[in-house]
């Protein structure tokens, strides 16, 4: 059973209390952008076998959206963090690097790795 700690209310919630919201840090494209960029934003996904950043909502709790870093191969949770950010906190990225050297992510929302 997946257990995530909500970074807002601090509750350690198991998955029936949470709603999954898919891949995090999508760079959003709308009117004025190219067809390719819009298409990629809407449909293309990283879907990695390994480190995955994703959105969750504490649906049956405080109701807030947050981010989680998780391994899709082992279901290990590296940590959760605020939704008000464009990339995972530095210390979380370092923690992941220690556990999964060489992990990659195409692009965070601010466009920098």
């Amino acid at each position: 059973m997946l257990i995530l700690e909500c970074p807002y209310c601090g509750v350690k919630a198991e998955e029936t209390e949470l709603a999954a919201g898919g891949e995090a840090h999508l760079k959003r494209f709308g009117p004025g952008s190219s067809d390719d960029a819009f298409h990629d934003y809407l449909f293309m996904r990283e879907n990695p076998k390994g480190v995955h950043f994703e959105r969750w909502r504490h649906a049956n709790g405080c109701g807030k959206w947050f981010h989680a870093a998780r391994c899709t191969m082992t279901l290990e949770v590296f940590g959760t963090y605020s939704a008000q950010t464009t990339e995972p906190p530095q210390e979380l990225q370092e923690k992941i690097s220690a556990k999964r050297p060489g992990w990659t992510w195409r692009e965070f929302s601010d466009g920098q790795k």
Partner: protein, 414 residues
């Protein structure tokens, strides 16, 4: 290949079964093949089989990182039906269903196809309207389905409770010629036929890289060394995104876990497949007497081939109202598989941004029933560059907004 027949059984009985040969060879890889198919599951093997049978292309390798048929082919609930609303889906699934009817004869391998009928229960007013519409559409498409009343449902499925307080049974969409088949036998039968045509099935051989030169696929790197090819087919279900990444492109899909379970074996009580889509549960009885039960997918990306416990509980709970006998059943075992779900929940059988590289993926929760049709269409696409069955399933449809408005591969039970 020695043919299987009643005479073969009699002959072997007289010599203590010493004459049976291996169903397929396990060769070492050659340096070059005309076509490499990655993934020796049902879809991959069917693709190879129809490449050989329909197009005479037999210099083919089928590469599998695990063992043959050990992924979703061996993990599904074996339901076969083609009662889809939209023309492209109905066409390919009906093709598949009709190929299942003669598969045992074609392959000389008993796949135990059992056209026992499939009922999809309508348990809300919306479902009544939806299924009547599907029944009408199916008439136009030449797919034999009918709308049946609750009384008829009770006749066909005596163990059902029509008058549940929350979700009464209001009727059903009945496809009499749908049913089940032995999933492993489908993979084994195709493997035997492929091997007989001279194709190489390379098990325990993982693809570690896809070699692309000036936009064309030229081969793959594997744990058994590099292998060259003229054309590459990726047919790896849940791992499609991983393989696409090796070839340098992304896919409009995510991989999630889907679970199923079987009960202890009981006496025959239900000779039809029943699906209850409103409550996310479906059930049939296997030839061994186990009740085979499937449910919905987990909501989050997952590659572990195991799912969340609460989904098992939800699935069984959903079925208890409609099938009160489920509450007395002991569950024997439970398992999960990784299914790949696309943006519009319909599969991809498509060319890719890399030349001579084709993909067949995204079957989500509904892949087994499509195996022969998918292989037929994929083989045609790979051999000729064009197949009428695959036109609508191109991965370019997302860019063009030409979605298939049907949750063929939805993350729910169906």
């Amino acid at each position: 290949m020695k043919r299987y027949s009643v005479f073969a059984v009699a002959r072997e009985a007289l010599r203590y079964h010493t004459g049976w040969e291996r169903a397929w060879r396990s060769p070492e890889p050659k340096r070059h093949y005309d076509v490499i198919i990655v993934g020796a599951g049902g879809h991959g093997l069917a693709t190879a089989y129809y490449l050989g049978k329909n197009f005479g292309i037999t210099n083919v390798a089928i590469i599998e990182k695990g063992w043959l048929g050990g992924g979703n082919t061996g993990r599904n609930t074996t339901i076969i039906r083609s009662n889809y609303l939209q023309d492209p889906s109905a066409a390919i699934y009906e093709k598949a269903r009709s190929l299942y009817e003669t598969m045992s004869q074609d392959l000389n391998y008993n796949v135990m196809f059992s056209p026992r009928g499939v009922i999809m229960l309508a348990q809300t007013e919306h479902e009544i309207r939806g299924y009547k519409r599907t029944a009408h559409a199916n008439q136009q498409q030449g797919v034999q389905t009918e709308w049946i009343t609750p009384e008829r449902v009770k006749e066909i499925v005596p163990i059902i409770n029509l008058h549940g307080p929350r979700y009464p049974v209001l009727g059903g969409l009945y496809q009499e010629r749908g049913g089940t088949a032995r999933h492993d036998a489908v993979a084994w039968g195709y493997a035997r036929a492929c091997s007989d045509m001279g194709m190489d099935i390379l098990q325990k051989c993982e693809v570690t890289g896809v070699r692309v030169e000036s936009g064309r696929t030229v081969g793959v790197d594997t744990t058994k060394g590099p292998i060259d090819c003229d054309k590459l087919g990726m047919v790896v279900a849940g791992n499609a995104s991983v393989l696409a990444e090796l070839a340098g492109f992304r896919l409009p899909m995510e991989s999630v876990a889907l679970q199923a379970m079987v009960s202890e074996p009981i006496k025959p009580c239900m000779d039809v497949v029943v699906m209850a889509n409103t409550v996310h549960g479906y059930m049939s009885q296997s030839d061994k007497g186990e009740m085979v039960i499937g449910g919905g997918t987990d909501g989050f990306n997952n590659y572990t081939q195991r799912g969340s416990f609460h989904h098992i509980e939800e699935t069984v709970r959903a079925l208890v109202e409609t099938f009160p006998m489920v509450s007395r059943l002991k569950m024997l075992r439970q398992w999960g598989g990784i299914v790949d779900v696309t943006g519009d929940r319909s599969p991809l059988i498509s060319k890719t941004p890399v030349q001579n590289c084709f993909i067949n993926a995204g079957w989500g929760t509904g892949g087994f029933k499509a195996i022969p049709g998918s292989g037929w269409a994929m083989a045609e696409l790979m051999a000729t560059g064009h197949s009428p069955l695959t036109e609508e399933f191109s991965m370019m449809r997302f860019k063009e907004g030409k979605f298939i408005d049907e949750s063929v591969a939805a993350g729910v039970a169906h």
